[in-house]
Amino acid sequence: MLNPVSVSDPFQNAFGILTQVARDRGRVYRWLALGFYAPDNELVTALQEGTLKGELTQATAWLGMDQRPLLDSLDEMNAHATASLPELQDAYEALFGKSVSRIAARESAYLWRSVTHPADAAGELNQALVNLYGQYGLKPQAGAEDSLPVQLEFLAYLCQLETQAWQAGTSSTARELRRQERAFLTDHLGRWLPEFCQRVEERALPSFYTAVSAFAFRWTKLEYGPGYSSLS
């Protein structure tokens, strides 16, 4: 007698795979956010103990062959694993601190490319971001709405919601969230991150921040898909 083939539900399998992928993508955005906040002991520990490299390697493994460029950036990042907190603070301050030649890590600083009156547009931008975050019940610190780590954390949060939606099998919600993530890259982060990363690459001596911004550029390029702007 033949044993009947046990047939699984192809959609449930798919949702299981994407639950993990959305979770991994969220982890990448969360670690990147940590990398771009002012350095603290959590970052130093993650660097020294190899957690940062390990987590980002694991969380991007689903990319298969296309993970390679990211691994190169992780190796560069890991070359600074022994950096102390004061060293990281110095490097952070030199790049993003209050000097005349600082590189702005916020979207409003790059508005001059697309608007005639950047000062007016900055206010509108921040209000639009506050409204957008508010739709998801989030309220960032006033004045930080358009900053790089906050935008990365917002994407991490959307990925978290997407993870929950795949897990619950609500694919239409999960697809909508994935579209929202992409729309946020198109409307905000993806518009200015390439220029920001290029400035960091051009300006800085090799440091943790050159490596983390190279990773951010490569990762966002993969996330954005077709049409991502490359200034180099």
Binding site: V5, P10, W62, L222, G225
Partner: protein, 206 residues
Amino acid sequence: MTKRLVMVIDLQACTGCNTCSVACKQENNLPDGVWWTQVVTLGDNGNDSPAGEYPNLFMDYLPLGCQHCVNAPCVEVCPSGATAQTEDGLVIQDPTQCGGCRYCMLVCPYTGVRVFAGETLRYSLPFPTGDNPMIHRPFTVEKCNFCAHRLKRGLLPACVDSCPMVARTFGDLGDPNSEVSKLLRERPHFQLLVENGADPSTFYLT
């Protein structure tokens, strides 16, 4: 019965010549390194490598492309609508809609039937080939569309038309008098990975 377009591939007839792969590449103007259909060697590792020890060698061929599943997980998860199913069962992929998220690739039960087009698309010939008007875009996912553009003109998919061994048959499984229905009634056959429940529309005659 509902129209369901399927591909039937006779593994007894297939000689692994890869004419189907080349015809597909030409018809769809596929960039270098992009293949929508390939012939996999069942034997040792590598193309045309038999398994076993002489004189007891074994080698077979398995033409492989998108299986156009009825319960296609790729369609269910695509956030941009680039992957869609037509009423007659084709699973089509439109690179102009594709956001490059690769979710379709990740959930596809079959490895290697989709290709993620790289950053730079290169072509061996300085002019486009074939009749598929599709524009290939970097950072998008591509796959076999069963030559939907040819079907609209009453033609068969390029791989079917070009097979010198007439190993491929294409038609409507919903029509009991179609060639594919007859073949599947008369010949033993299988579908790949039925246990996944995707119900593929590619059948292999043994």
